[in-house]
């Protein structure tokens, strides 16, 4: 009885340690794939369109309403202290430092990350990855590297768009709807934001991009090795769910780490 549960614990630990090791090596191979010629420029463009440009709609509406909610909440909180003039600064700082990169990463996970995971998982199950290897084509260079690079480029761009649209949303709520003076909103924002806030947002966006692609394509790549995933369409749907969950949590964990280091 005790031996049995010990055995199960050991089994569980070996599996997860193995899994972490595999994912670590996967990231290494993916990064190496980016620097291995020949470079697939067309594939990069296709991925940029898929991951970046096609996400703009989602990002726009998420950002607009996030900004408006920030304006609304901030206004009622700040009014208690008679500091409605700080509204611009509160909206801009929350967006630039935290909400911009984090919500963009979560949206990209949901839209592009899940699709990436399913695509790679299906390619594994239908032996397409084996076929690439047999043609002596490195799947990391051919398949994973364009996705990684495209996300690392698209994430900062999407984050910046998120920030601007979010500030615009906060302006609508604060200035147009609640009557904070436009000058106070803008100058409060200008007075409190420093270079570091923007740089911090950019660094976060890049790191989150790597995390999202790493987790999502990695889960798909190892669909045959993941316990309880099973084969076929069901296996792919399970690991896709798993990838989205792990990726979202990882983004939040990394957010904490980066904030602690950069602030």
């Amino acid at each position: 009885m005790i031996l049995e549960s010990l055995e199960r614990l050991g089994d569980w630990a070996t599996y997860w340690l193995g899994d972490i090791g595999r994912m670590g090596r996967f990231l290494g191979a993916a990064v190496r794939g980016v620097f291995r010629p020949p470079f697939r420029f067309r594939a990069l463009l296709g991925q940029l369109r898929e991951i970046g440009a096609n996400s703009i709609g989602v990002i726009f509406f998420t950002a607009l309403f996030t900004g408006m909610v920030l304006g609304l909440q901030g206004y009622y909180t700040l009014r208690k202290f008679g500091s409605e003039g700080m509204l611009g600064s509160a909206v801009a700082l929350s967006l630039l430092r935290e909400l911009g990169p984090v919500l963009t990463a979560l949206m990209v996970t949901g839209r592009a990350g899940s699709a990436m995971c399913a695509e790679v998982g299906i390619m594994r199950n239908s032996e397409q990855l084996d076929a690439l290897e047999c043609m002596a084509v490195d799947p990391f260079r051919y398949l994973i590297a364009p996705k990684l690079l495209a996300t690392v480029i698209a994430m900062p761009a999407l984050t910046m768009i998120f920030n601007v649209v979010g500030i615009f949303g906060g302006y609508i709520a604060g200035v147009e709807l609640l009557g904070v003076s436009s000058g106070a909103f803008m100058s409060g924002m200008e007075g409190s934001v420093v270079d570091r806030d923007i740089v911090m947002g950019l660094v976060k966006a890049v790191v989150f991009g790597v995390v999202v692609v790493w987790v999502c394509t990695g889960r798909g790549y190892f669909v045959h090795r993941i316990r309880g995933a099973g084969f076929g369409a069901e296996g792919v749907s399970r690991i896709t769910t798993q990838a989205v969950v792990i990726s979202s949590i990882s983004v939040l964990v990394w957010d904490y780490i980066l904030t602690a280091v950069l602030l």
Binding site: L45, L48, A53, A92, I161, N163, S187, V194
Partner: protein
């Protein structure tokens, strides 16, 4: 046709992202490498800069003319503050720099009262006349204990 579309869409996407970045940095961040060419630095020593932060606003008559670049401690235990002032703003050598508060709990900022002198300060010069931050707590306690002068 399909290839062309991808190029254009991706191009537009990246340009939009970059423009947003530029807007944020110019409008809000005052990126130092962009600002460096259009500004000059003055220094001033204060007895107390409590509450003043790097990046705080510098104003003349309520108009923003620059920001606080650096705050450090001098050998004589006074605070040394470097002020980055926009190019084109002329400040006489008899100007007074004082640290003020916006609103009752608002941010600290530096207010400069330009003097009447025709001799203007240039990059690296010093504003000699300064007024330190008003310590609200001290003021209140002085009032309560009837110590007002």
């Amino acid at each position: 046709m399909r290839k062309l579309n991808t190029d254009i869409i991706v191009g537009l996407f990246l340009v939009t992202g970059f423009l947003c970045f530029v807007w944020l940095s110019l409008r809000l961040g005052e990126f130092s490498f962009l600002a460096a060419r259009n500004s000059y630095v003055l220094s001033a020593a204060f007895d107390n800069v409590s509450g003043l932060k790097k990046g705080a606003v510098v104003e003349i008559a309520g108009v923003r003319i620059g920001s606080v670049e650096r705050i450090s401690l001098r050998d004589d235990d006074r605070a040394e503050v470097a002020l980055r002032i926009d190019m084109g703003v002329k400040i006489g050598d008899d100007a007074i720099a004082s640290i003020r508060t916006k609103g009752i709990i608002g941010d600290k900022y530096v207010r400069i009262i330009p003097g009447g002198s025709e001799d203007y300060l240039g990059d690296g010069d010093r504003i000699t006349d300064t007024e330190s931050a008003v310590d609200l707590e001290e003021l209140v306690s002085k009032y309560i204990f009837g110590d007002m002068k």
